[in-house]
């Protein structure tokens, strides 16, 4: 396990590269999900107001 994380001394470089990639990709998928929830709520609200 240690050997795997150590990566022959290049662990710091490899894991930071993979880590930054993971963070950016996660953000790219989470932001549209949040946006979708927001849109649904806003449109729901809009429709409710129309009915009043």
């Amino acid at each position: 396990m240690y050997e795997f994380l150590h990566m022959g001394g290049y662990g710091g470089y490899i894991w930071s590269a993979y880590g930054i990639t993971a963070i950016v990709l996660t953000l790219s998928i989470v932001l549209p999900i949040i946006q979708s929830r927001k849109n649904h709520k806003r449109i729901e609200h809009m429709l409710e107001q129309e009915q009043d």
């Binding site: 001394g9 999900i33 729901e44």
Partner: protein
């Protein structure tokens, strides 16, 4: 064919169709990422010269490929939006810009992290490959910024399409910079025209990761396009039906 294309271009059909496909695409994409990461970090042997540091290739190269691919898709959608005024292609162009910027950012950062242990520097200002990729990031940011800066969204989409089309000249420069100029960055490893200069056991994880990145792009593109479509069409009946959860799309 045209009929199919036309139907897909209709917002409710696209919304329904993409909603059905998204779970499957997500499943395949996650599987590819798991297999690709295992292949790149465990299965592939260390490089004879760069040792384990070469494993950064499995995130750097797919991101760099996608940074260019997404740009071409974006510019192409922009051209279609300009000529035929198809709403969906306009939405696809706008949805591509932010994910393209993300891929470009990943390519630049991971490249920099890879450069330190191999080249001996984080960044080289004289390198044409590095500079043209940085220019690509600025193009994406410029496109996002220009769209949000113009009030009239129809005009904004038009302006952005033109900027995207002009910027496409940068794509061949990125690709050929390492061939026609002397740079610190090495030449292309995997090229269609000859056999790749990489061992098969190292190449397979790279191709799997590239496929995973491509699917990831399609998933984000569909999600963003669905959001934009729903919002733009919020006054139409089909959106009402979805929000109220009644009946079919």
């Amino acid at each position: 064919m045209y009929r199919w294309f036309h139907q897909l271009g209709s917002p409710p059909t696209f919304y329904k169709w993409s909603g059905q496909w998204l779970p499957w695409l997500t499943f395949v994409c996650i599987t590819l990422f798991v297999v690709g990461l295992y292949g790149g970090l465990v299965y592939a042997p260390a490089d004879y010269l760069q040792k384990d540091s070469f494993r950064i290739i499995y995130v750097h190269v797919p991101a760099a490929w996608m940074s260019m691919f997404v740009y071409v898709v974006m510019a192409f959608s922009g051209a279609i939006a300009l000529i035929w005024h198809i709403k969906l292609s306009e939405i696809m162009m706008l949805s591509s810009a932010s994910i393209g910027a993300s891929f470009t950012f990943i390519a630049l950062i991971t490249g920099s992290i890879w450069g330190k242990p191999t080249w001996g520097t984080w960044w080289e200002w004289g390198d044409a490959r590095l500079l043209s990729e940085l220019l690509l990031l600025f193009l994406y940011i410029g496109i996002i910024g220009l769209y949000s800066a113009i009030e009239d969204k129809r005009k904004a989409a038009e302006a952005v399409s033109i900027l995207a089309l002009v910027g496409i000249v940068n794509i061949p420069i990125i690709h050929y910079s390492v061939i026609f100029l002397n740079t610190l960055h090495q030449g292309p490893t995997v090229s269609k025209f000859d056999s790749p200069s990489i061992e098969t056991s190292m190449l397979i994880p790279l191709l799997i990761m590239a496929l995973a990145f491509k699917l990831f792009y399609i998933i984000v593109l569909l999600m963003r396009s669905r959001n934009e479509l729903l919002w733009r069409e919020r006054r139409s009946q089909w959106v009402r039906n979805i929000i109220k959860g009644t009946g079919n799309v």
